[in-house]
Symmetry: C2
Subunit: 200 residues, 2 copies
């Protein structure tokens, strides 16, 4: 299995983290975004969106971090990580959507604007991100995990850009239940870290 | 079954469209966004994000349009609309993600800025939306449907804000395969329309 990857991408880290938790071996293929390698023709053959991560599982190509999480959970993780019953699967999906909305267009864009000089409105992004954190805080105040009694890909999808939020100028001190959840994720067997989040 | 709904919301329309295609009866509960009803305490009890749509299926509450599509497909639609095999499910998920990214933060935001005076950068949104349309065009140039040999919730998730794109100042003439796909969706048995897209 190959992962087209960048060390500092929170979306790529979602995949590395789930692989760590599931004990999946894979080869990392670094893509140099600063050099525009993700917009070169060879890479667009792998992913027409020109984005990382992309997974190559024995010739089967999957792009998009949420889609790769779904693939790995279904193929290698079993129902713990993505339950099949309609209500439980929909609950996981709710948090995958939060990860793609408030967290990606809020927290991750605020970080990209501050750290990588992307042209996003930082105040607008931070406000959007804090709305997502409030929803997480409310859920986690009375529950250990986002989508059921045990960790699922919902937690894996939300964790990276929440834990990286301070790099975008969004502090987490006012979200104590979120901070406790971060510690629970870090304590999972097989956990791996990334720069800005804490070492393995 | 009750759907908390607004007539002009493309995200709500995704649910109405799938219900039409699946032959599901439901009651519409209109939420007045102009009056801020979605941010009132009573509504936040249903959805902490303060957004429509929300589905109430005999007391089971599901928020988020993608999550509701997943719920309805799993509970009432069978594998045609959301296949369970890992590669096929991940393929559907890829397009659900495109719908939540380029289409929602591109096309839908461009429409919201133009039609409802929301504070988004219209040029930035249109550019983001066109990137999504290019990816759709590439897929649909050689395939009738987005995620397999038949329509799935991938098509339902992407269709509304694509069909509404001209309301946001993004014309579709340069995307002929997308226009042909729009016609295929309109021809599905049980299809329903919405204002700006075409009548039932």
């Amino acid at each position: 299995m190959k992962l087209y990857d960048m060390e500092l991408s929170g979306n790529c880290y979602k995949i590395r983290l789930l692989c760590g938790l599931l004990g999946i071996d894979y080869e990392r293929v670094p893509i140099d975004l600063m050099q525009g390698q993700h917009k070169a023709e060879a890479f667009l053959q792998l992913n027409p969106r020109g984005q990382i991560p992309v997974l190559d599982d024995d010739g089967l190509l999957i792009w998009d971090s949420s889609a790769i999480l779904v693939y790995l959970a279904r193929q290698y993780g079993g129902e713990q990580w993505l339950p099949l019953a309609a209500p439980a699967m929909a609950t996981v999906m709710q948090w995958l959507s939060l990860a793609q909305n408030e967290l990606l267009y809020g927290l991750a864009r605020a970080r990209a604007a501050k750290k990588f000089k992307r042209p996003w409105d930082q105040d607008q992004c931070r406000q959007h991100g804090r709305q997502g954190l409030q929803v997480l805080e409310q859920r986690l105040a009375n529950n250990a995990w986002l989508a059921g009694p045990q960790p699922t890909i919902a937690d894996i999808a939300c964790y990276p850009y929440v834990a990286l939020a301070p790099e975008g100028g969004v502090e987490l001190a006012e979200f104590p239940a979120v901070l406790a959840w971060i510690e629970r994720i870090r304590a999972l067997p097989g956990y791996v870290g990334m720069p800005g989040i804490g070492a393995d």
